[in-house]
Structure formats: structure tokens, C-alpha cells
Symmetry: C2
Subunit: 193 residues, 2 copies
């Protein structure tokens, strides 16, 4: 029996795949990367494909987009399918490696419209990304009704201790607006225990 091919990109809805394909090869500067992550979080609501979270992976040396991610947990029947997880999996598949770490090179940045939950925090460590940039804060997510889970209080320091640069609060109010819009309009807040 021939083995199937595992392709994490198959989790993306058609609109997101087209959106990403249309932006590949274009360099994004620092703030533009976060703008893209926030735009993905907004479009995920507009298209009705999931929760208000978006993420993307970029090459640090060139600013080129490598992958996008969205919260697709409900649609894909997979609670792992948070925006950061999806973006990381597709980026690793694109470079054919379980790690985005490139010793001696500038490597990769993950831009996420919101600070990571407990799962994504752990996943960031194993991903090999060199830099993480976050928009909305854990408190913003919490205020919108989301549960980020039991993440270490000093999660930024834990990442930095492992050589991962972290910048939080980038375009925070724009990112928070999407969360507030979603929760204010009756979006599904799932699996809160």
C-alpha cells in the first residue's frame, strides 16, 4: 500500500492559500509583517472559516513570506489548528525540515496577531524560529473570552533564554480590535474549561 503524502497546507481554506500565493516573493518590513497577521485574523472571520487569530512566517534576511496560518480548529476538526501551529507546520514543510533554525543565518520570524496560548508557547520552542512578534496580549484574548491556558508567567523570558527574540504589543490596538469585533458579534468561543 503506497503511503500518503502529509501536506499541512491542505488544512488551509482556498481563500487563504490564494492570499498567501499572491504575496509570496514580496518583501515585508517589520510592521507590515504584523499587519499581514492581523489581516489574516480579520479575513478568517469575514470568510467564516474560524476564530480571530492569524499568523505568518517570514524569512528574516529577506522579509519574504514563507507561510500563513489561521485558527482553523473547528473547521478542520483539530484542536491543534491554532494560527501559529498552522503557520509553523506549513513553513517547516516548505523548507523540508522539522526545524526552522539555521545556525549562522538569520532564520525565520513568526508574526502572530495574538500572544501564544500554552500549547503554541511550547510549539514555538520546538519550531526553530529565531524571532516571535505578537500583536494582542494574553489579557486582550482573555477579555474577549478566550482561554490561553496555563502558560508560564515569564513566558517571554523562557523563550529569550532559549535564544528566541520576542517583541510583544506590535500594533496591539489593531489586533485587539479584531478580537473585540469577533466576541462582540457572537463568535464561537470554544472549549473553555
Amino acid at each position: 500500500m503506497p503511503e500518503q503524502q502529509f501536506d499541512p497546507e491542505s488544512i488551509l481554506p482556498g481563500w487563504a492559500k490564494e492570499f498567501a500565493d499572491g504575496k509570496k516573493g514580496v518583501p515585508f518590513n517589520g510592521r507590515e509583517r504584523m499587519k499581514l497577521a492581523i489581516e489574516l485574523s480579520r479575513l478568517n472571520i469575514v470568510h467564516g472559516t474560524g476564530g480571530p487569530f492569524g499568523a505568518a512566517v517570514f524569512e528574516l534576511a529577506t522579509g519574504k513570506l514563507v507561510s500563513v496560518g489561521l485558527n482553523l480548529a473547528v473547521r478542520s476538526s483539530c484542536s491543534h489548528a491554532h494560527a501559529e501551529m498552522v503557520a509553523i507546520a506549513i513553513a517547516q514543510h516548505a523548507v523540508s525540515s522539522y526545524t526552522l533554525c539555521r545556525p549562522g543565518e538569520r532564520g525565520y520570524e513568526l508574526a502572530s496577531s495574538c500572544e501564544p496560548c500554552a500549547m503554541c508557547f511550547g510549539a514555538i520552542i520546538w519550531s526553530g524560529v529565531n524571532r516571535v512578534v505578537c500583536g494582542a496580549s494574553t489579557a486582550d484574548a482573555c477579555n474577549a473570552g478566550f482561554d490561553e491556558g496555563p502558560k508560564p508567567a515569564l513566558w517571554v523570558k523562557e523563550l529569550e533564554r532559549r535564544g528566541i527574540e520576542v517583541e510583544t504589543g506590535v500594533l496591539q490596538s489593531e489586533a485587539r480590535n479584531v478580537l473585540e469585533y469577533y466576541s462582540g458579534n457572537g463568535g464561537i468561543i470554544y472549549n473553555a474549561r
Copy 2:
């Protein structure tokens, strides 16, 4: 453009898919569930398909096997592909839901040959499993050279607080033996930062 179908089972090597298919429908009692998880961790080394970690999801009411998981990170170019993550994703796909939580029913158990890393700990919370059983300890994994990441010291209490029953140290020495065999024979210990 038609959308692709996301199938987390496509990550499994052929031998694991056949192994799981051959055991579906058979009830497993408590200890047999852990034996299966440990057997998967051993077979993953024997087949050269990944690291020494195995997991499986069972229906609590019947003991029936729902899914299996293995550490497939290197082979699948995906750092998320820890045994618990794979088993959870395939189980959720099997029940067509982003959560294994079944209010008013006994739900599902995750048996893992080793205590979870920081990422899998978070993923267990979002998975909806009712019960988690672990073989080898975090210290056993650490002694074999693996890094479990910054998990809360009171991780068992954090899961219990969210209604997830936890049992650790089940067939611990058998589970530890597989870790020791792997590290003693030069198995790849990847991505230790």
C-alpha cells in the same frame, strides 16, 4: 480550485496504520492501553521512523482503540508531530470534532509512553480528553537527553483543575527502558536548545 482534504492520518508510516487497523474494535483494559503506547514507542525505533515515543487514544466506555500516535517530527518535517499530538489529531478527525469532550459521557483516554512536553501539555487541555495516562516520567526523558521544555511544575494539578484525570508512572520501567535503549544506541536527540 477544489480544496484538498486535511487528513492527519496521512502522517503515519504504513506500518503504524496497519498496526492500528489490526487492533481497532478490540477492547483494551487499563494496563493494556499503556502496553500499546510503549509498544508503539519501541516499534518506532525498530522501523526507524522516529523517536522513542508512542501514544494512543481509547474510548473510555468500551476500551476500544480510536487512534495511535508516534514521534514523527524528523520524518514528517514537522516539529508538532509528537506522539500525543498525532494521536489526538487522528482521534478528533475520526470523531469529526475539534474536541473529544462528550458531556455526560465517559469520553476518551490518552495513553502516552512518556509524560508530555510543554507543547503537548497545552494541547491536552484543548483536546477534550477526559483522562491521561503516562509511562516514563519527565525526569526519565531528561535523563535520556530529551528536553521537555518549560512545563508548569504542577502540570498534573493544572490538568486536574480542568477536569482531566491524570495517572503517571504506569509501567514506568518498561517505558523508560525504550528511552534508554534509544539514547544508548545513538538515536537522534533533536532540537535541544
